[in-house]
């Protein structure tokens, strides 16, 4: 396990600047989540750290040592690819053992057997060990590719949306399991996801990427409560933050736009809004209302019935202010 740092790291593919001057420190034992829409440069960042892509400029260190010029094998990283890449000619067992048999690790066979069955247990695939890798469902393949990383004890684990093709229950199980393994072993992890629950529950740090730039880096709480732009504020939170002109609620303002998370909207008095519909999700009820032509999503109060076209009064509580370009005004 080791600290990993990126200093002003950039990478372009032709005219596309995939990664643009990223600097960040992934602390030893940290669980860092990268957030950003498709094309933001998340995968490229992982590939640069692993050594599969060459840097255009900047420097990466792993455990205090600069890694430029080192091969992926020499960097001692484990990676779970976005498209699971199991070796199709090998059984599940041999896929899991593959990194342990590498010339760098040369693990004794009895230890391989022990580690493989332990990981298979955690990933709930012990009955599939003797299948060919191609005879698995998508979710099983993804678990095996996570397992192929977890059998090792590398400087850093790089995981590219590893839980994305799993069903909800398994996803929740593995989320808890991954976090437990990471905490137990004190592993360092860099993890890409779109899933805000994964980000909020597992991360010690969250980095938000926009067009190849790291636009904010902090604890999940900081990112959620103290975003420095509308873009960052929109990455976390379900339902998403409502962005509205500040004038809607009257009074004086620090900026032209306000951001209101559903829990920052109180019902009772304030501006008049019309209910469009209520969505019952089981644990919460989302309320879609129309506020002077602006769609606003908020959470319904317990025990109250909402019917379409009824009116209610809402007011903001501790809104976030943004300038016209979307940057936060403190």
């Amino acid at each position: 396990m080791a600290e990993v740092t990126l200093a002003n790291v950039s990478k372009a593919f032709g005219a596309t600047q995939a990664v643009d001057g990223i600097s960040m420190t992934i602390p030893d034992g940290g669980f860092v989540v990268l957030l950003g829409p498709t094309g933001a440069g998340k995968t490229t960042t992982l590939r640069l750290i692993s050594g599969l892509e060459k840097l255009d400029q900047g420097q990466i260190t792993i455990g205090g040592h600069a890694v430029d010029g080192l091969t992926p094998a020499q960097r001692d990283v484990a990676m779970v690819f976005q498209q699971y890449s199991l070796y199709p000619h090998l059984s599940v067992r041999d896929n899991l053992a593959f990194p342990l048999r590498s010339p760098i690790l040369k693990t004794p066979e009895d230890e391989i057997a022990r580690k493989v069955s332990q990981i298979a247990e955690i990933l709930q695939i012990p009955h599939k060990l003797d299948n060919k890798a191609t005879e698995l469902s998508g979710g099983e393949m993804q678990r095996v590719s996570i397992g192929r990383a977890l059998v090792r004890d590398p400087s850093i684990y790089l995981m590219d949306e590893p839980l994305s093709s799993l069903d909800a229950k398994l996803r929740a199980d593995l989320r808890v399991e991954l976090k437990r393994i990471q905490a137990d072993l004190g592993s360092t992890l860099l993890y890409v996801t779109h899933d805000q629950v994964e980000a909020m529950t597992m991360a010690t740090h969250v980095g938000v990427l926009q067009d190849g730039k790291l636009v904010q880096y902090g604890t999940p709480r900081q990112i959620y409560e103290d975003p420095n732009s509308i873009y960052v504020a929109s990455r976390l939170g379900l339902p998403r933050i409502n962005i509205l002109p500040s004038g809607l609620f009257g009074g004086s303002h620090k900026g032209p736009q306000i951001g209101l998370r559903p829990e920052n909207i109180t019902e009772g008095d304030g501006a008049e809004a019309r209910v469009i519909r209520a969505e019952h999700l089981g644990d919460q009820t989302r309320l879609h209302v129309d506020l002077q032509g602006h769609a606003v999503t908020t959470l319904a109060q317990d025990g109250r019935d909402y019917t379409p076209d009824m009116t209610l009064k809402i007011s903001p509580k501790d809104p976030l202010y943004f300038d016209a370009g979307g940057d936060r005004i403190q």
């Binding site: 091969t71 992926p72 890449s85 070796y87 000619h89 593959f98």
Partner: protein, 313 residues
């Protein structure tokens, strides 16, 4: 009535298609079957008219194929001790005795060495070149690939005279090495092109995963790419072997005593002591076997190989 499906042909269409395939197979197999039958006829049976489909099988053709014989007078035959082996007996019925082994065994062995040797070399070099073309940025890669293909744009025999002179100067005439190199040179363009198609289809992610799993690039190639290219390698090997195995013109031109392969030898059997069709047929039958066995062993891969690119699992 069964439900109509868009993808599944109707049972009548299948029946018609199946019958056509069987009919075609029968037609193409008649000459083959005739040759195999002729190998087990006696010389008079092999040229009788009307042709005999039912006959008493004999191993005379095979005995004649593997031996040279001399004619003796009936008196001298009487004077000999009784025949020691079944093949002595067959030969003596024609008033002959075995003088020694024929060259067929040697020529057949030459075919095996040269055919399989050049196949191995073509596939080996072809795989490495195809991998490089598929994975690395090579300056002028397209032009180089076109150049490689262009070596097959005229029939190889068109350059027979220059090769003949070159081989004489280099001392490669009538050597196994010379024939292996020649057939490899002819086959390598096919090998590179076929194998590049197969290797292009293997996603790079597998090698990248292996690099991260602690392997070097060569180990990743060896442990991850090669096993997945097995299909392509097998079908390429079959195509290369079929060419090298059947090649006739260069073998006639460049080889004689040492490195001659079976194809130029088989017709020479006819000349020895009358038209010995059973011996020729026996030689042809034995000559067919290695390619047949090789193809049957690799047939699973071959089918996938011929349709590659068409279907992606």
């Amino acid at each position: 009535m069964s439900a109509h499906s868009i993808t599944e042909p109707s049972s009548r269409a299948k029946w018609v298609a199946g019958s056509l395939v069987i009919l075609y197979a029968l037609i193409t197999m008649v000459p083959l079957a005739w040759i195999m039958m002729t190998g087990f006829k006696t010389p008079p049976d092999s040229i009788s008219y009307p042709p005999k489909v039912i006959f008493e099988p004999s191993l005379e053709g095979y005995v004649n194929l593997f031996t040279t014989r001399t004619r003796v007078t009936p008196d001298a035959l009487e004077a000999l001790p009784p025949p020691a082996t079944w093949y002595d007996e067959i030969v003596r019925e024609r008033n002959m005795v075995i003088a020694g082994p024929s060259k067929f065994g040697e020529r057949f062995l030459n075919s095996v060495i040269i055919g399989f040797g050049s196949t191995f070399l073509s596939v080996f070099l072809g795989t490495l070149a195809a991998y490089a073309f598929s994975r690395f940025k090579i300056p002028l890669a397209d032009d180089l690939l076109f150049f490689i293909l262009s070596t097959r744009m005229m029939p190889p025999i068109a350059v027979a005279i220059p090769i003949f002179l070159m081989y004489r100067n280099l001392g490669l005439s009538d050597t196994h090495l010379g024939m292996i190199l020649l057939y490899t040179a002819v086959n390598i363009s096919l090998a590179v092109w076929l194998l590049k198609g197969f290797i292009d289809e293997i996603p790079r992610e597998y090698e990248e995963a292996a690099l991260i799993d602690g392997y070097t690039r060569f180990q990743a190639f060896y442990k991850v790419v090669l096993p997945q290219a097995a299909t392509g390698i097998a079908s390429t090997a079959i195509f290369c072997l079929i060419f090298a195995w059947n090649e006739y013109a260069f073998s006639v031109l460049l080889t004689s005593a040492t490195a001659q392969t079976a194809p130029p030898f088989i017709p020479t059997i006819i000349g020895v002591g009358g038209l010995d069709w059973p011996a020729v047929a026996a030689g042809a039958t034995i000559f067919l076997l290695p390619v047949m066995i090789f193809t049957i062993l690799l047939r699973k891969h071959l089918l996938r190989g011929i349709t590659f690119g068409a279907v992606r699992k």
